[in-house]
């Protein structure tokens, strides 16, 4: 054997073995029982365009989270001032970053000022100023805190969405944060994307509010502490929607974050599904107090600013459990239970990108892509064999090694194969023979100059080396940029392309050369089949 052939052959062999090893989980439907331990178990992942599924990009309305915090501060201040007997005219959030307080007397204002300093040290406090004859103070959330709040809101939203998806039951979902306020969700192989989207995108803010029977829903002015909401009624037979306006107290008595559990139950009497909820200790205490104080009055169950139902409180409810009933199907009840368990989103989210691919189209893409690849391989193999004879077959062998290595590498790296990724592989079939074409053409030229096969072969490889390096680097540059900027399918293309180029460098410079070397060292070969 010529010098240096041994390690090259072993390297090729090892890579072939490794490729098959990594490809086994992809190729074998049922792994044998002894397959385990350190042996690879990952399959080549299929992109959503190939296996079907939904890709969502959601934008969290982080400003709403800041406003929500300020609303809480305002409510909290009302309670504190009331408990300290400090009389105030008005407390509310103004604009996007302030809470303003208006009190009747200067003296009270000074007390409030001191209280605010203790209670909200991180807020910027304005000096007392005059507003229509009353004393006013504004509290402003500083920018750093606001940014912090926004960041937390996205983080919380991500966790909540993850919870909901886990409970909904999707296999191998991907949920990632992207940029400042975007969340990317991938749901492979999902059957009912519309339902999943509604489940994920819903804010699910649950509130219990007292109905203000003293104000007519048709009244032109509604006091500051009340608001007009609507109850949607769906006729189960016709499907027609009617909206009933109801005036409720603005302040909620109890909110959904005091829940510990929510489950779907079936009403044995009417065979209707409903959602049973459990409160935590604080929630149970509040619920007990509220119901005790308001027997005979109505209270509204408000979900995302829509009244779900407004039942009459018949008796005091202790023990911390309650039920939400209404026009539920089993699915809608199940979804409501999931969102209540997983908790509300800290801010509304908006879906800004939704790519859904049906499973049949994905399957179609795989089979067509593979078919096209197969035809491409066959045509190129035949062409090379006819054009370069035996040497062409060696190039063909190199190409097949290329494809095998590439698939193995994709499996080993856990990379995702997309339809453009398959296209990249097919394209590589054509491009990968290029290195060999460059080398062969060189060898033919050297042979024409009268060199022996061995000398022509060595000269051919030597002189072609730089050219081959150049041509690979230029392709790698564009592939790297595509990888950096591409998303989804395009990224899959870049991965296949760049891996393919690197692998091709190995097979063309080491792989095929060693086969030639083996041929030529067998005695005196007079003629090279090229």
């Amino acid at each position: 054997m010529p010098k240096g052939t041994g390690w090259r052959i072993s390297l090729i062999g090892i890579f072939v073995l490794l490729s098959f090893l990594y490809l086994t989980p992809t190729l074998v439907a049922q792994l044998p029982a002894w397959w385990g331990g350190l042996l690879p178990k990952d399959k080549i992942h299929l992109g959503l365009d190939l296996q079907g599924g939904t890709h969502l990009v959601m934008e969290v309305d982080t400003q709403k989270a800041v406003e929500g915090s300020l609303d809480l501060v305002a409510t909290d201040l009302e309670d504190t001032l009331n408990s300290k007997n400090l009389r105030f005219k008005h407390i509310s959030r103004t604009g996007s970053d302030k809470v303003s307080l208006v009190v009747y007397e200067k003296g009270t204002a000074a007390d409030v000022q001191k209280l605010l300093k203790d209670k909200y040290p991180s807020y910027e406090q304005s000096p007392i100023f005059d507003e229509g004859g009353f004393a006013a103070i504004t509290l402003r959330m500083n920018e750093k805190d606001a940014l912090d709040r926004k960041d937390k809101a996205v983080q919380q939203a991500l966790e909540t969405i993850r919870n909901r998806i886990d409970q909904f039951g999707v296999s191998e979902p991907t949920i990632q944060r992207e940029g400042i306020n975007h969340i990317v969700v991938q749901l492979p192989g999902i059957k009912d994307p519309q339902r999943a989207i509604e489940l994920i995108g819903r804010t699910a803010r649950l509130e219990f509010k007292m109905v203000r029977e003293d104000i007519s829903p048709t009244a032109t002015t509604i006091p500051d502490d009340a608001e007009l909401l609507k109850e949607k009624m769906v006729d189960p037979t016709t499907g027609a929607v009617t909206e009933i306006p109801i005036v409720v107290q603005k302040k909620s008595m109890i909110t959904g974050d005091l829940l510990t559990d929510a489950q779907v139950r079936i009403d044995s009497q009417f065979n209707q599904p409903y959602v049973a909820i459990e409160f935590n200790n604080l929630g149970a205490k509040l619920f007990d107090q509220v119901t005790a104080a308001n027997v005979g009055k109505r209270f509204a169950i408000v979900l995302d600013s829509n009244i779900h139902s407004a039942p009459v409180i018949r008796e005091r409810i202790s023990g911390g459990s309650a039920q939400i009933s209404g026009n539920f199907t089993e699915k809608t009840a199940a979804d409501l239970a999931i969102v209540l368990r997983a908790g509300a989103l800290p801010a509304p989210v908006k879906i800004i990108q939704n790519v859904t691919v049906g499973p049949s189209l994905g399957q179609d893409s795989i089979s067509k892509g593979l078919y096209a690849g197969l035809i491409g391989v066959l045509l190129v193999v035949v062409f090379m064999a006819v054009y370069y004879k035996l040497s062409g077959l060696i190039a063909d062998l190199g190409m097949i090694l290329n494809i095998l290595y590439l698939m193995g590498a994709l499996a080993a790296l856990g990379a995702t194969l997309t339809l453009p990724g398959i296209a990249a592989i097919v394209l590589l079939i054509g491009m990968s023979v290029d290195s060999n074409v460059i080398i062969f053409e060189r060898i033919r030229e050297e042979l024409k100059l009268g060199k022996t096969p061995k000398a022509a072969l060595d000269a051919g490889y030597d002189k072609a080396f730089l050219t081959i390096m150049d041509s690979h680097v230029t392709t790698l540059i564009t592939a790297a940029v595509l990888f950096q900027f591409g998303t989804g399918p395009v990224k899959g293309f870049a991965v296949s392309l760049s891996l393919g180029v690197l692998i091709n460098l190995f097979t063309s410079l080491i792989g095929t050369k060693v086969i030639f070397d083996l041929f030529l060292q067998k005695g005196n070969i007079k003629k090279l089949s090229i």
Binding site: S365, K368, F383, L427, I477, Q484
Partner: protein
């Protein structure tokens, strides 16, 4: 087997014809890019924002009926395209709120085509903010890869070759845009991917020829530029053709058998492979000859 024996074609001599042809293509390409910039070209929804759906009906239908069905439900402007094979309909609507449009399309057909049930094969909805971001990212990607290529060529060759290679690469990019613009094919992310791939491929093609020219320049210092360049191109001509042919075969099988989703993508590749081969011979090298001759003339003047 050999397709070509020893050739001696005067490629450089044909440069005037080539420059005229290339200039026309490049101008159309530039117009295309301006139109893309203005959003007046056939933009994919990944850049413009909007909704695209692929529906598969169980029975044949007419495009006119489909249009009326959508009109009835308030979708006035939609781009409809029928895929004969398998009763499929592509619906494309520019810029609309995510979530509403796709449902509306489904309700329209569910009520108007009650006796012809359908399934949604795929649906893509992209909000305007994503479109903006993708457009920006794409511009950066194209600029970065061109910059990377120029830097590499400038490092490996001298400036004149760098200019030649860059112009040839840009020429190919423009030519692809020109063809897609004239055929009114959709400009989307996959097209950009194809363009960048071809940019890399075209450069490879050019570099192989440049390598040979440089080698011959070192060997033969006396010959006329014109002859050295022509000789080099002829020497590597069979490689140029064989490689283009194998890559073309692979892309063609994608085009013919690869299915609807990557049909336009493989068309772009086919066009690109063709133009890249042409430009490495007829654009890149003649430009370098031009620059070299000018430099020589200056040296003579000084002397």
């Amino acid at each position: 087997m050999e397709l070509l024996g020893k050739t001696n074609i005067d490629f450089i001599g044909k440069r005037n014809i080539a420059f005229v042809v290339s200039s026309i293509i490049a101008i159309i390409g530039i117009i295309g890019i301006i139109q893309i910039g203005r959003g007046a070209a056939n933009m994919g929804i990944d850049f413009s924002g909007g909704t695209a759906m692929q529906l598969k009906f169980s029975k044949p239908f007419s495009i006119a009926d489909a249009r009326t069905a959508l009109h009835k439900h308030g979708i006035a402007k939609a781009d409809l395209q029928e895929i004969k094979n398998g009763n499929m309909l592509l619906v494309k609507m520019a810029g609309a709120a995510v979530g509403k449009q796709s449902e509306l399309v489904q309700t329209s057909f569910r009520t108007e085509f009650a006796d012809n049930p359908f399934t949604v094969e795929s649906s893509t909805e992209i909000g305007p903010s994503i479109g903006d971001k993708l457009r920006k990212d794409t511009l950066i990607a194209v600029a970065l890869s061109l910059l990377g290529i120029i830097l590499y060529i400038a490092w490996r060759f001298d400036l004149k070759f760098g200019i030649g290679a860059t112009i040839a690469t840009m020429h190919d990019v423009l030519a692809m845009v020109a063809v897609f613009f004239v055929l009114n094919k959709e400009i989307n992310l996959l097209f950009i991917t194809a363009v960048l791939t071809i940019a890399g491929y075209s450069l490879t093609d050019t570099v192989v020829i440049f390598d040979r020219i440089r080698e011959n320049l070192h060997k033969n210092l006396k010959g006329a530029m014109h002859n050295i360049f022509n000789g080099s191109i002829n020497e590597v001509l069979s490689r140029t053709i064989v490689t283009s042919l194998t890559t073309f075969i692979a892309a063609a099988s994608l085009f013919i058998f690869g299915g609807e989703v990557i049909h336009d993508f493989s068309l772009a590749l086919l066009i690109g492979i063709g133009v890249a081969t042409y430009s490495s011979v007829f654009v890149a090298s003649p430009i370098v000859v031009l620059l070299e001759n000018r430099a020589l003339a200056k040296q003579v003047e000084k002397a």
